[in-house]
């Protein structure tokens, strides 16, 4: 293969950072298998790969959090050994973490101070914080405590914290996963500016279109090994995905013969106060879902999606039975089990801890959600054979890969557990399925299986409500898409009319004011 020439125009022969045969071993498992990568100044370098491909291990090694088992790193041509992140920071390596490394009960300024080396006084640091955040157009109030801030603001803290060290090289781990398309665009402006200032950026993302737009070079990892380094602009999203997965991903197709019949799930003017102080109040939520239809709910995390799920699943009940109607039966006041008996099924966002009890076996987990509606319990005794059969059926139908017949839920990989959790509900052949983030953190292959299963279930006449932060996913499978913002739900748009721009604006709440006036006039 030709040496992929990076775009660094002033490449005086030595890259900013180079890894040579970098290897990280955990027991017999090779998280990174002799990885060679070169980062040049003025380059935005994408790092692509599925979950578990070794991206996080690689960047943690570069940031000094993990010691490599073998191989070496060179910084500006000289051998570099890092005993910890502070040494990495001292050389000019900054990192913005995927799961923010912030402290909820500390203020913005304190959080930033913790990411610096403490050589300047707190006062000077605060002043510089305001200056840096203004220069880059990332406004922050240094005195607010983090728990009060939105996800977008939290990410700003991370970025400003990294920028305050004036880094030569900045690592960003899936920075746009939690942003609206507009917020992501703002971030790209900042990144382009950093590049123009001569800094290098290593950019981890799942979003291939984004990578094609932003990045000059892409390195693709699979199973801990480097597969290729290429120019993402010269590739297609499909060819990049193929390199990541190592095989073609099956295209998801809607089955023919979708029938739209009577409404199976109706929500009438549902309102609910949050039960914890940081929650979102649901206001005037109405929707109607017919059999055979998939309604997608988009929105930035924390706009009431979790509260809506709780209200629909019966984790929280309403005083007014008419707010939720399942297959013609008022169910707003019913418990989870009673709603399941009406034919509804629910898949929450977190698969460990919410969707399953992590330390219990799959069969026991199947029993926990299915006992009321299927014959797994007889006269108070568990029918072990029936629970195991459910596990086997889900395993077979959804290609769940596991070490033994009935392992603990926590021992499965994210994708396989998600296939099991979704499969467990779909196999009950529900009339209504409410599913929250069906493919969050799931590899592309498993995601395709799950999306196809949802389409097939709808084709069989079920009504499906899918909440997702992945717009591409909703556009792919939903018939209509509505957007949640601050506990309100927009009018659903037919997917054909729902452009990313339109949805993005709704996600930012821009048309809410118009809607409110319209509401007032209408009333």
């Amino acid at each position: 293969m030709l040496d992929p020439t990076p775009t660094g125009p002033h490449s005086g022969g030595t890259p900013l950072l180079q890894t040579i045969g970098l290897t990280k071993r955990y027991g017999d498992f090779l998280a990174n298998d002799s990885i060679d990568i070169e980062i040049w100044p003025q380059q935005i370098h994408a790092l692509l790969g599925e979950n578990g491909a070794g991206k996080s291990t690689l960047v943690k090694t570069i940031y000094g959090l993990i010691q490599p088992s073998d191989g070496e790193m060179r910084w500006q041509g000289e051998k570099m050994v890092l005993s910890g992140p502070s040494e990495a920071r001292a050389r000019g390596i900054g990192m913005v973490f995927q799961h923010f490394s912030l402290f909820d009960n500390l203020t913005v300024a304190e959080n930033v101070a913790l990411g610096l080396d403490g050589k300047e006084s707190f006062k000077d640091m605060s002043a510089r914080l305001e200056q840096v955040s203004n220069v880059y157009g990332l406004p922050l109030d240094p005195r607010r405590e983090v728990w009060q801030l939105s996800v977008g603001e939290r990410q700003r803290i991370e970025i400003v914290r990294a920028l305050m060290q004036n880094p030569k090289f900045l690592i960003l781990d899936e920075p746009t996963a939690v942003l609206t398309p507009q917020e992501a665009d703002q971030l790209f402006v900042v990144l382009q500016r950093l590049k123009a200032e001569g800094r290098a950026i290593l950019y981890i993302s799942h979003k291939l279109e984004e990578v094609k737009r932003l990045c000059d070079t892409a390195t693709i990892l699979r199973g801990g090994k480097k597969v290729s380094t290429c120019n993402p602009r010269a590739e297609t999203a499909a060819s990049l995905a193929r390199m990541m997965v190592g095989a073609d991903i099956k295209e998801v197709k809607a089955a023919a013969g979708r029938k739209t019949t009577v409404p199976r799930l109706v929500v009438n003017d549902l309102g609910m106060e949050p039960d914890d102080p940081h929650g979102v109040k649901l206001q005037h939520i109405s929707l109607e879902l017919k059999g055979g239809e998939i309604l997608g709910i988009a929105g930035v995390a924390g706009n009431g999606q979790d509260e809506l799920f709780a209200a629909l699943s019966g984790e929280r009940q309403s005083m007014d039975p008419g707010t939720v109607v399942i297959d013609g039966q008022a169910a707003g006041h019913l418990s989870i089990t009673q709603r399941r008996k009406l034919g509804a099924a629910f898949v929450p966002e977190e698969r460990l801890g919410h969707g399953t009890a992590p330390r219990m076996k799959l069969s026991e987990n199947a029993l926990l959600t299915g006992h009321a509606a299927s014959g797994m319990v007889q006269r108070g005794f568990i029918n072990t054979a029936a629970t195991l059969k459910t596990v086997d059926r889900a395993t077979e139908a959804f290609d769940v890969r596991k070490a033994k017949r009935d392992p603990e839920a926590a021992s499965l990989s994210g994708g396989n557990l998600q296939k099991f959790v979704v499969g467990r509900e779909i196999l009950r052949n529900p009339a209504v399925l409410v599913v929250n983030q069906p493919t969050w953190g799931v590899d592309a292959g498993a995601a395709a299986v799950i999306r196809q299963a949802l389409l097939d279930l709808a084709a069989g006449g079920a009504a499906i409500l899918v909440t997702s932060q992945d717009l591409d996913e909703l556009i792919e499978i939903a018939d209509r898409i509505a957007v949640m913002f601050h506990g309100r739900l927009s009018e659903p748009l037919a997917t054909a009319d729902a452009s990313r721009e339109k949805l993005g604006l709704l996600m930012g709440g821009s048309s809410l004011a118009e809607k409110e006036t319209a509401h007032a006039v209408g009333a």
Binding site: G84, S86, S101, L102, D104, N105, A113, W147
Partner: protein, 305 residues
């Protein structure tokens, strides 16, 4: 008025061991470690403190022995929970049981012996002012030390970088580690500080409160100190209020019993504990927004390397 002065003096004396132990535990918990072994560290501190003072004849030596004993015991806790990542609740409970047994063994030879109690401050002129003189200027050194300690801890936690790092470790140990802070080392020091303070608080009892040692003389003060930390919602300032309030209830019930109000003495003895429960309920009801407890409190941390 004489009585009022006497009451206030005894309230301060009763509150000081609680304040000392609770201050140490507050720092430990702020770093994210829940050490339920305070009672055990206090009682061993009491036995060793008395032993040191009795053998040397010096209160200072006694106090140092108490501090050393509490610290040593806390090191066992640190080894288990930080080094071996054992459950903190179970280890803390075991530490208390160990401490109670150990103190009986150490103190067996000292039972019935007496020492000279810690001297009280005397500044001619100031201490002789009626009413306030003895209260403000006539205490033993431990009372002043405990207040200085609280102020010092407050300054440390909120005005120094090291204190900020300690609070960060207690709020989110994964993030603190990701930023390169040595979470386990920070927690080790915090646990040792907690042990030292609990040992000193325990030693205060035989060195200043009563000039002799009896087995089990801490009588649950370690548990009260733990409750006080929650009561104070992990803030040093409120800890002082809580400790003195609790000391006051303890003393008042003694006086109330002396006046024989016709209330069963068992009920009066239970009053301080009842007060703690009521205050805890009120605090948890009044809580709004943010979390007052260190978010990582009681969770085991194993860094990935």
């Amino acid at each position: 008025m004489e009585l009022l002065e006497a009451i206030i003096l005894s309230v301060l004396a009763a509150s000081t061991p609680l304040l000392l132990a609770a201050t140490g535990e507050l720092v430990t918990e702020r770093s994210g470690v829940l050490n339920l072994g305070v009672e055990g560290m206090m009682i061993v501190g009491a036995a060793c403190g008395f032993g040191g003072a009795w053998l040397s004849g010096s209160t200072t030596v006694g106090a140092i022995c108490g501090i050393a004993a509490g610290t040593l015991l806390s090191l066992i806790f640190a080894l288990m929970t930080l080094g071996l990542a054992v459950n903190q609740v179970a280890t803390g409970l075991a530490l208390t049981i160990l401490g109670v047994g150990l103190s009986g063994l150490i103190g067996a030879g000292f039972v019935g012996e007496r020492i000279t109690p810690a001297p009280h401050l005397h500044i001619p002129g100031l201490t002789d002012i009626p009413l306030v003189g003895r209260i403000l200027f006539g205490e033993d050194a431990f009372v002043y030390l405990s207040l200085a300690l609280v102020i010092g801890v407050w300054l440390f936690l909120y005005r120094t970088r090291a204190g900020l790092v300690l609070r960060a470790a207690g709020d989110n140990h994964v993030s603190a580690h990701a930023l390169g802070y040595p979470v386990l080392r920070i927690r080790l020091f915090a646990v040792m500080f907690g042990g030292a303070c609990a040992g000193l608080g325990g030693a205060y009892l035989p060195l200043a409160y009563t000039p002799f040692f009896i087995p089990g003389m801490t009588a649950g003060r370690g548990w009260i100190a733990l409750a006080l930390v929650v009561f104070a919602s992990w803030r040093p300032g409120r800890l002082v209020i809580g400790a003195y309030l609790f000391g006051a209830v303890t003393i008042l019930q003694l006086h109330a019993q002396a006046f024989s109000l016709g209330i069963p003495s068992q009920f009066m003895s239970a009053l301080p504990y009842l007060a703690t429960v009521i205050v805890l309920v009120l605090i948890s009801r009044a809580r709004t927004g943010g979390s007052t407890a260190p978010a990582a409190l009681g969770t085991v941390f194993v860094p990935d390397r």
